[in-house]
């Protein structure tokens, strides 16, 4: 301990000497906003000279200047400031302003200014998204950055979104980007248990240059999140509170009411054999089942944060509570979060420690399936002339021969709980070696622990319970834990030669290891009155209640070495390069290692002297990059090996070969090229960027069909012949149509076009039809729709008509006539944000759109198939062909000719425009605040998903699957009110 103290003292001393010596001819200072926020990477230039420096991440700069020189301070987040040097320490306060240049690009291994960045990345303003009443942060990314498509398949509270950056890059349907929080990898699906209020910055890294430092994992792009750091100064407290109400959206699919349905049944042979008396009585009932299942969901959100410290030690701490009940009865999420971030040390020696813990309780219902036991299907399927309860108050059981379970009973009686614990902790040490200026070593270690529990209680009085083994209900319990640690060691050196040449190099070593364990059991025979394990009947050889018990586990590891080198000349020309070697445990010993590289160049044209005369152009930057990134994620962690798994014969365990293995399995590589231009006009009143990218994935993981005489039908391999291309263009535009002292109107928009094409596949396997009916074929986007074209109804006889492959009309349905139609992945998408500011009042209107996407609506088929007459039906069927001459697109209900299920009749346009968020907020003026101890107070009212334009015929067009199976849980329309206080 004493030794340590001595060392620290020594370090401090050394540091002081160094600082005193440095001050002699140099002006230093800190650039902060009016509220004290440090302005990282601001550019400081001595006016009239080429002497330019960048401030560091804390806004501290140091520049050679004489008294009387004028310093020009520019940055993306504030208005340009000029100050005259009159003392050696020049702290500068600046006025905040939104601009794109010189944003910080947080790469997780460090930060660099957007000015010197040569790749494609976007920063998302956390303040814009953090107060949206959504539990899972990945949903908030929707429409926020070009090239990033975030779609949530579900409106269940806490549901994760699917995020795809620059298109699906492989054919194994693994398109999740890599998520990095404070330098370590975080499991994509678990954001519901993290607290986005703790996030300080969110950066999306899209091309090879930006993602290549994650080379082994960056093929699908990287989302880098840093959490808030403490700020020196007096203790600051913040409290945010929000209450909200959510309602279900109206479905565009209108079902028959009782009268219509009964009439339809009578016209189609009265399949339920209703007597006239029964019909007369049923006509008096007309239930809208959506009203029974949906309710107003409530949101409560409380966030408390504290920050403070001194020059040596700073802290940030927070507590969060988020409680949201779903719009469907018996669904919701409650989450509790705590965080503490500490930083301590001197200029040369820094220690950082971050700890975030979250616990969430998630209750859900089954969705996205066509199960009769899913309550969300029952909303559409249950007959309108049945009530949920009989006159004695018991659940009404459908008396018809094909009776469906009472869905309300299923929903209320079955309890599905998924508690999750999440702990993320990182520790970092940084030591700037005092003898060699610019040389530093850094080590960053962190763990991501996730613990998932399942508890699905299915009592015996439910339909699902009657299907359980033994027919007396089941209790399924599961416990998973996953731990991943990431360690990164870095040696970096940074120097400036002859004032003009900025050089920084680093060598890095990284390890990542993930371990997963699970055990689970399902008990049967729930005959006692407990809603837990107490109800389980002990299994015997004869009673049928022998519980199932199982477990599983897996692990994977990555080992990487990489080096980066960045060169800047006069802060005008930039060259970034990196190379890395990665090894993955997933591959066979001979194919573990792979090399990835990146090169990027940038040129700030507007800083050239010949541009000085063009006054309207305040910024023009050109950049281009090329490089490779890798993908090593296949189906399981041990796909490369032939494996034997557990089996049993005659009551004795055995081992059976269950996986063919492929020792030649190796890295999938995505090679990408990106070029972009960034511009600012009229003092950056209008700014933006345009990027073009072209990424080719090679050595795609593919299941090849092998001769089943080998004992297996398919084998995973890297197909050298197969290639998948994503190319596209991204626009960002930001401008002030109006900007005056008291009123401003800011428009920010982004737009993406992504073209996904399967370039080639191995011979004999040039198209694959997936289980969901979509096709992946050469020359088309992966997962395209593949159906027979529907040609309407023959008015003469009511037969449905189909188009043959060559466009002729026929009344014979033949799967050979299937054609490739439209993509299930949206090629066009984006977001537009309007911000109107008037004094303390701000109105934010945020639209998102997804265009060019077509999906098969099986949810509609479920209620439009005339042979499902036993359940509720689409009102469209009232237009069914009945008599010769009827002009309609609904054919007669004849099973011999009715094959609409495999046709475009159910293919719908799933494009949409959505008013994603509207927020009106008011910052109470300082004049009022002064009288209190409160330093800031903001009140707001916010609406989400208030308006959607779509042709999609169900509740919600926001879907990430290749089709809608059924049982959709729509995203609610919500209104929230809230307040943010700072002390």
């Amino acid at each position: 301990m004493r030794e340590k103290l001595k060392l620290i003292a020594l370090l401090l001393l050394t540091n002081c000497f160094a600082a005193a010596f440095a001050q002699a001819q140099t002006v230093t200072g800190k650039i902060t906003s009016q509220t004290g926020e440090p302005q990282a990477f601001a550019t400081v230039q001595v006016k009239g000279t080429t002497t330019t420096v960048s401030a560091d991440a804390q806004g501290v700069y140091s520049i050679k200047a004489k008294n009387g020189d004028v310093l020009v301070i520019t940055g993306s987040t504030f208005r340009k400031v000029e100050v005259t040097v009159d003392k050696p320490v020049m702290d500068v306060s600046v006025t905040a302003q939104v601009n794109s240049l010189n944003e910080i690009v947080v790469t997780g291994y460090g930060t660099k200014s957007k000015r010197s960045s040569t790749g494609a990345s976007n920063t998302i303003a956390v303040s814009d998204v953090k107060m949206q009443p959504i539990a899972s942060f990945d949903q908030l990314l929707q429409g926020q950055a070009p090239g990033l498509l975030s779609l949530s398949n579900s409106g269940q509270p806490g549901a994760a979104a699917s995020v795809v950056i620059r298109g699906r890059g492989n054919l194994t349907n693994n398109s999740n980007p890599l998520y990095i929080v404070d330098g370590i990898e975080i499991t994509a699906a678990d954001f519901a248990t993290l607290n986005q209020n703790d996030f300080e910055s969110i950066t999306i890294l899209k091309d090879a240059t930006e993602a290549a430092i994650y080379g082994s994992r960056g093929a699908n792009g990287v989302i880098v999140v840093t959490t808030k750091k403490g700020r020196a100064g007096k203790l600051r407290l913040g409290y945010d509170v929000q209450y909200g109400w959510g309602k279900f959206p109206k479905s565009k699919l209108v079902l028959m009411n009782s009268n219509e349905k009964l009439d339809y049944e009578i016209a189609n042979n009265n399949p339920n054999n209703w007597s006239q008396a029964e019909i007369d009585s049923l006509r008096n009932i007309d239930i809208n089942w959506a009203d029974i299942f949906f309710r107003t969901g409530l949101t409560k959100n409380h966030q408390l944060s504290a920050s403070g410290g001194n020059d040596k030690t700073r802290f940030y701490a927070s507590l969060g509570f988020f409680d949201q009940t779903g719009i469907v009865v018996n669904t919701g999420i409650k989450k509790y979060n705590g965080r503490i971030n500490l930083e301590t040390g001197t200029n040369n020696f820094k220690l950082g420690f971050n700890l975030g813990i979250g616990y969430s309780e998630f209750s859900n219902t089954n969705e996205s399936n066509q199960s009769i036991a899913s309550p969300l299907n029952a909303i559409q399927w249950t007959l309108p002339y049945f009530t949920p309860y009989d006159k004695d108050g018991n659940y009404l059981q459908d008396p018809t021969p094909t009776g469906q379970p009472n869905a309300l009973q299923e929903l209320l009686e079955i309890q599905r709980d998924f508690p999750q614990w999440k702990g993320i902790s990182t520790i970092s040490l940084e030591y700037k070696i005092p003898f060699v200026k610019g040389l530093a070593v850094r080590t960053n270690w962190g763990g991501d622990y996730t613990q998932n529990e399942w508890s699905i209680y299915t009592p015996r009085n439910t339909y699902a319970g009657s299907l359980a083994q033994g027919g007396q209900g089941s209790l399924q319990r599961r416990f998973d834990r996953n731990f991943r640690y990431t360690g990164t060691n870095t040696i970096s050196y940074k120097t400036t030669i002859a004032d003009d040449h900025d050089i920084s190099v680093s060598v890095n070593h990284e390890i990542v290891k993930n371990t997963f364990r699970r055990f689970n059991f399902t008990g049967f025979g729930l005959t006692l009155p407990f809603r837990n394990e107490g109800a389980i009947t002990a299994g015997t050889g004869t009673n049928g209640f022998i519980p199932t018990v199982a477990g599983a586990g897996t692990a994977n590891a990555l080992l990487s070495y990489f080096a980066t080198a960045n060169y800047g000349y006069r802060s005008k020309y930039f060259l970034n390069t990196a190379v890395r070697r990665d090894a993955s445990s997933r591959f066979g010993a001979n194919n573990r290692w792979a090399t990835f590289y990146q090169v990027g160049a940038g040129w700030i044209v507007s800083d050239e002297s010949f541009m000085k005369s063009i006054n309207i152009i305040s910024l023009l930057k050109l950049r281009a990059s090329i490089g490779t990134v890798g993908n090593q994620v296949t189906n399981t962690d041990f796909d490369s090996r032939a494996l034997l798994g557990r089996s049993s014969y005659a009551g004795v365990t055995g081992l059976s070969l269950i996986q063919p293995g492929n020792p030649d399995l190796k890295w999938e590589t995505r090679q990408s090229f990106n070029t972009g231009v960034e511009f600012g006009l009229w003092q950056n009143r209008v700014s933006g960027s345009i990027d073009y990218y072209n990424a080719l994935t090679k050595n795609l993981f593919l299941n090849r069909n092998i001769s089943s005489t080998s004992g297996f039908t398919t084998q995973l391999f890297n197909s050298p012949e197969s290639k998948l291309r994503n190319s596209g263009i991204e626009f960002v535009l930001r401008g002030y149509p109006v900007r005056s002292k008291s009123f401003s109107w800011l428009v920010e928009g982004n737009f993406t076009y992504n073209k996904n094409r399967v370039v080639s596949l191995p011979a004999g396997q040039d198209s694959t039809v997936a289980v969901d009916g979509t096709i992946t074929a050469v020359g088309f986007p992966a997962n395209s729709n593949y159906l027979v074209k529907y040609a309407g109804v023959d008015p003469a006889n009511g037969d449905p008509l189909y188009y043959t492959k060559d466009g002729k009309v026929t009344n014979v349905y033949d799967t050979d006539d299937q054609v490739i139609l439209g993509t299930t992945d949206a090629p066009y998408f984006g977001g537009i944000n309007n911000t109107f500011t008037y004094k303390g009042l701000e109105l934010n209107v945020f639209w998102v759109f997804v265009y060019g996407k077509e999906l098969y609506n099986n949810d509609r088929l479920n209620v439009e198939n005339p042979f499902y007459i036993a359940s509720s039906l689409n009102r469209d069927l009232l237009r069914e062909w009945r008599n010769p001459g009827d002009q309609t697109n609904i054919p007669r209900a004849d099973g011999a000719v009715y094959f609409l299920g495999g046709t475009t009749h159910f293919l719908e346009n799933a494009s949409f425009w959505r008013l994603r968020n509207v927020m009106l907020s008011y910052n109470l003026p300082e004049s009022i605040m002064k009288k209190t101890k409160i330093t800031g107070c903001r009140v707001f009212v916010q609406g989400q998903n208030l308006y959607t334009v779509t042709k999609w015929r169900s509740y919600d067009p926001e879907l990430n699957a290749n089709f809608l199976a059924g049982a959709q849980y729509p995203a609610p329309k919500t209104i929230t009110v809230g307040m943010s206080l700072a002390f």
């Binding site: 070593h509 599983a552 090996r641 059976s656 063919p660 080998s710 004992g711």
Partner: protein
């Protein structure tokens, strides 16, 4: 000075960290699975692999359902009721083409069993009595699979031994694209495997769910019968009869025998069967569920078959008249443990009665008619105690043996192959409109539909495979 020391130390530390954890860090082992290279390294590992091989026989595309079902359904013993779950309709109606799913499934699963057996047979584990026993059992399972494969996808040996059989795969190689060998090659492999099995296996006492020395002998008798090699069949069958120690189940315990769901340890009736228990079973995809009217109950005993049994035939008590939809049907009640939670029906592969009938047939065909009648009546009379016994000769005797085979082995998947080996037409006698108008009542021996097509998936994946004629 001190801080320099610190830097140097930390520098060294840093560098060590970077190089230390290299190989072992990436060498991870699966948690609950074992790599093939590590699997069969000792006797316990081989025993586990052998159990895994036996377990594959339980697959629903093998003895779990398909094999014992199609042998009756494609012949004249069983029909699909009008009210049905839409399963096995193609097999029933002979609608076979290169997309016929069952042809892919049974093909694939049989080769899975062969693969697992291959890995045991090819294990370099040093020979000793235990290893030999286990390798012998694997040989027998491999022979059994090739026997079914060649009979489903190739012409009968007795009809055209030189025609296309099946690929003979003896080692694990996922990249291989083997071609079909001749039918005779398959039989040669089967003979080789069975004689290897006979030489390696020492046990004669393991229970009926495992292969013992006399299981191999019984299979040798059946294989030789299918080759028309009467002498060899007779030798093998006689060895089982004289030395195997098996007995026929007496009439009084016949129903109890079929009700029993446990393996046989007293050598009564069963020679080899595939074990199903309360946990490891095919559930709603089981053979029993397909016959059980409280399950799918789709498969019904043809009235023609029912009428073959005399009223006093104990075997008829396992066929129960009942109603399905509006049809009066004869429900097969041979598999009685569908609703038994504790244990499920074993599926018989070969029984003592069949060995006796093989012996009778080979004797009848080699001028030992008196002996043949003894063996035939040994079976016939124990099943029907009121029956006086057969006394036929010549072709009539052969016919009686075949007819007794049909009655004895009904619903066990024998009939179709029994017709095939004798190059006989399938002729379905349509009593009481058992068969709908759309169902073919005959399938001539000459028809291409007598053997299954090779599925298109296999043809696509393996260009060296030749399709059967007519597909």
């Amino acid at each position: 000075m001190k801080s320099k020391l610190i830097i140097i130390t930390s520098g060294i530390l840093f560098c060590t960290m970077m190089v230390s954890c290299k190989k072992e860090f990436l060498d991870l082992k699966p948690y609950d699975q074992v790599a093939l290279d590590d699997a069969i390294k000792d006797e316990a590992g081989m025993q586990a692999a052998l159990n895994g091989t036996y377990a594959q026989l339980r697959n629903i595309n093998l003895f779990g359902r398909a094999l014992p079902l199609v042998g009756d359904l494609m012949a004249d013993n069983v029909y699909i009721a009008t009210v049905n779950s839409n399963r096995f309709i193609n097999e029933f109606n002979y609608v076979f083409n290169n997309n016929f799913g069952q042809s892919l499934n049974t093909w694939t699963e049989a080769y899975v069993a062969i693969l697992r057996a291959n890995n045991i047979i090819n294990s370099p584990l040093a020979a000793n009595a235990n290893v030999n026993q286990m390798k012998g059992e694997a040989h027998a399972i491999r022979a059994l699979m090739y026997f079914y494969l060649v009979n489903l996808y190739g012409k009968p040996f007795t009809v055209d031994a030189a025609s296309l059989g099946v690929p003979i795969v003896l080692t694990y190689d996922p990249a291989a694209k083997p071609e079909r060998k001749k039918v005779s090659d398959a039989y040669q492999q089967i003979d080789a495997d069975l004689s290897a099995a006979f030489n390696l296996i020492t046990s004669t006492t393991k229970n009926s769910s495992y292969v013992t020395k006399y299981v191999v002998r019984a299979l040798q008798a059946k294989v030789a019968l299918y080759k028309g090699d009467w002498a060899a069949a007779k030798t093998a069958a006689l060895d089982v009869v004289n030395n195997g120690g098996y007995t026929l189940v007496p009439a009084a315990s016949y129903v109890a025998y079929w009700t029993n769901a446990a393996p046989i340890t007293n050598k009564q009736e069963t020679i080899f069967e595939v074990s199903f228990d309360g946990i490891s079973n095919a559930g709603i995809n089981s053979l029993a569920y397909f016959y059980d009217p409280t399950g799918y109950g789709d498969a019904i005993c043809a009235d023609d078959l029912y009428n073959q049994y005399s009223a006093t035939d104990i075997r008829r008590t396992l066929i129960v008249p009942g109603v399905r939809g509006t049809q009066n049907v004869k429900i097969v009640n041979k598999y009685r443990n569908n609703t038994n939670n504790a244990d499920k029906d074993e599926v018989k592969v070969i029984r003592y009665a069949e060995v006796l009938l093989i012996l009778a047939e080979t004797q009848a065909r080699t001028s030992e008619e008196a002996n043949a009648l003894i063996r035939l009546n040994q079976v016939a009379i124990i099943r029907d105690p009121s029956f006086a016994g057969y006394s036929s000769t010549g072709a009539a005797l052969i016919n009686d043996i075949i007819s007794e085979r049909r009655k004895e082995l009904a619903f066990e998947g024998d009939r179709y192959f029994d017709l095939a080996r004798r190059n006989a037409d399938v002729v379905r006698v349509n009593l009481n409109s058992n068969y709908p108008a759309s169902t073919p009542l005959t399938l001539p021996a000459s028809s291409n539909k007598r053997i299954w097509p090779i599925h298109q998936t296999e043809l696509d994946a393996n260009r060296n495979i030749q399709q059967n004629p007519g597909y």
